[in-house]
Each structure stands twice: as C-alpha cells, then as structure tokens.
Symmetry: C2
Subunit: 207 residues, 2 copies
DNA sequence: AAAACGAAACGAGACGAGCCGTATTGAAGT
DNA sequence: ACTTCAATACGGCTCGTCTCGTTTCGTTTT
C-alpha cells in the first residue's frame, strides 16, 4: 500500500505517532479523562495539533488509540492462561492478579478513561470488543474448555455466561467503587462460579 | 432550621428548581450527555444560568440531581419485589423487567449519563450508592432472605455476592453492548445464580 | 383593608478563559 | 525538490463569573 516511489517519510511519521500516543497515555494517567486536551497532548508530544488531526478524527479516537496501543504491546502475540490442571486454583490466580491490577492508580485511571469512551460511543465499543476484549475472552474460554475435558466443568456449560459471572461483578464493584477488591473477594467469585458451572450441575437448565 | 425572621421565598425557589431538573432530564434523554449544556438547561427551564449556579456547583451536579430526583419520585416510599414463594419465578420476572427497561432508549441514555458521571467522580458515586443503589439492593436482599427461610437458598449464602452475580453481567453486557439483552439471557442468569447459591450448595466455601 | 416598601431570588446576557477542529506559514527532514 | 512538520492564528462553542434591572412576597405603613 505504501510502496510508492518517493522518499521514505515513514520514520518521521512513526516517531511522531509514538510520541503522540505516549503523551496521551501519560496525560490520561496524570489527570482525569475530561481534563486531557488535544492541545496538551500536542504540547507534551512536541507536535503540532494538526499532526494529531491528520491521523485521528477526534480526541476520543486519539485517546482510544493510545489505550489500544498500550495493550497491544503488553499482549505480545498470544494470551494464555495458566493451566496446571486445577481449574479452581488457576482461576483464583488469575482473578487475584486482576484485582491487583485494578489497585494500581495508573491502571485505574486508564481503564476509567477507556470505559467512559466506549460507554458513550457504540463504534468505539465495537472496536474495543474486537481488538481487546475478544482475544482475552478467547484465552479464558480456552482454559475453560480444557477444564471441561478434564471433567472440572459441566460439558454443557455456557462458557460466555460463566466468564461474565466471574468477571462482571469484579468489574462493576471496581467501576462503582461499591466494595473493596480483595483476594478473598476474587476467591469467592471463583468458588461461586464453579458451583454454578461445575460438573454435574446441569448447567443448561435447573428444572 | 429555617426559623428566621425574613420573608419566605421558598415557593419561587421550588418552582425554578423543579423547572431546572425537568429540563435537565428532558435534555439528557434527547441528546447524548456530552451535548447537554448548562445554557441549554437554563433556556429550556426559562431560567437564568446564575439560578442554576446558585444551587449546584457544576454541570455534573445538576444533571446528577436531576437523575436522583427522577427515581426518588418513581420509588415512592418502599421498594418491594414480588414474593410468590417461588424464588426462581420471581427473580426471572424481575430480571426480564430489567432487560426491558434497558431496551428503552430514554432509559438507556439516562443511565449512560449517570454512569459516566459516577465512574469518574468518587463523591457522586458514593451519593449514588447511598440514595439509589442501596435501597434497591436492600429490597432485593429482603426477597433473598425470604427465600432462605423458605429453604430455596443456602442459609450461609453471601447475599451481596449473589446479587452481584445476578445483576453485574446484565449491567456489563448492556454497558459494553457485548450481547443482546433477551428474556432468555435473564433466565440464564437466574438459573446460574440459583445453582451457585441454592440450598445445600455450601455457599461459603467449595473446599 | 389597601398601598407602599424592601430583601431575597430572579431572567437575561456580557464577559474572560479554555478547548475544539481548521487553515496558514515558514522551517526542517529526506 | 518535495513532503511533512511545528507553531500559531482563528472562529465557534461552552463553562462559570459577574452585573443589572425586574419580579415576588412578607412586612409595614396608612
């Protein structure tokens, strides 16, 4: 697509692109999302405003791209959950790690900003699901399928529903600050979810 | 409290107060939250901007107050859930009703606005929990306690956790638009929650 | 009782500041 | 040379403050 004839300007573009995303990320972690301005991002990145508007259509898009890029780096290629053969132990490990992530103030501000954007913009929400949520969910579901084969989870369990019941309460408690996020809470969620979807629970219907 | 000597202007205050809150509510349901301006609220209410700023410190506070007032009216005094003696049926009724509420575009916009505010302001979040979330949760917990007495729920079930696992997935699915909200989905949540917290599940620990 | 008074609350809108997104220009990179 | 860039000016919009003249309504005077 960019195999044109002219001189190669991709290095400049890439450098300023990285600077913009880094500046956006830094500002979101420092201030609350509403206070982050395009002008501040440009100033911090040592970049003209027009350079930002050349690439992204709005402030939301820039910030969203910054958050996307963040986790694309972090993920590397493949996301895999631990699989020691003990589903309950593995899930508690993961859930406790998630609890600790939410305790980090920078992570907290970042995810709040991300949620503010996707809650009010259906298009961004779709992109978020596609690029961030889905890969993670697939990794989690892979672990659950492995547990089904090992007889630790009902064969007819609705894995999407199980994941929701595992994660949504944690997410909501954090979003609304309605209770402290502790390791014990993480464990309780795992225990309750396994009671609902464990082997022999007849997960499809309780009649 | 207000047993001063001076003349009583409370009638004027109350009239303009109601007009402001009604205008704020109307605008939030018509536009998206970001597009609602204080000036628009003032114009719609037939009120000067200063009258708004005399009472509330910021735009967020006005809109939040408007949403609070809305449900204070709706609630009347006491919130009670149906109790036919069949917990599963009663919960499905309530969850299906909740699903339908979220399908209403006005309600959708309203709750998205409310969530945008409380997600980014810890003080508003606390007020929200105190005045809106808690009374509803207490009503739901009352129904669950009744079910415990009827032997339809484990006696040592963590009721707060059960409520979260029932409602948080619905809330998150709606917030992120990650799946269609159907009656079948509502039923699945009830079924799964009852499998986790039903009688004889040893709800406190699964060891 | 009727009229005049005065304090509080009010509607309207001007104002400065900040931000958004666009347009222009001259410098720097390749 | 040709492109991309930083810097900056700009119009438009919103916020929250401030001022000004008006309306409301209990009190006081007649």
């Amino acid at each position: 697509m960019s195999n044109e004839k002219g001189p190669d300007h991709s290095r400049r573009k890439e450098r300023s692109r990285q600077a913009i995303l880094a500046a956006a990320r830094a500002l979101v972690t420092e201030e609350t999302y509403e206070k982050v301005t395009v002008e501040a991002i440009a100033a911090r990145a040592g970049v003209g405003k027009q350079t930002i508007y050349r690439r992204w259509p709005s402030k939301s898009a820039v910030v969203f791209a910054a958050l996307l890029a963040l986790s694309e780096d972090a993920d590397g290629q493949s996301v895999t959950l631990p699989d020691t053969g003990d589903l309950q132990a593995d899930l508690k490990l993961v859930m406790r790690a998630t609890v600790e992530e939410f305790a980090d103030p920078s992570f907290d501000k970042l995810i709040r900003a991300l949620n503010t954007e996707i809650a009010n913009d259906a298009a961004l929400a779709a992109e978020y699901r596609e690029k961030l949520a889905r890969p993670l969910d697939e990794a989690k579901k892979a672990r659950l399928r492995s547990a089904q084969k090992a007889g630790q989870l009902a064969l007819d369990a609705d894995l999407d529903l199980a994941l929701e019941m595992l994660y949504a309460p944690l997410f909501q408690s954090w979003l609304h600050r309605s209770r402290p996020l502790t390791a014990a809470y993480a464990d309780s969620l795992v225990d309750a979810t396994l009671r609902a979807f464990g082997p022999g629970t007849g997960a499809r219907s309780a009649h």
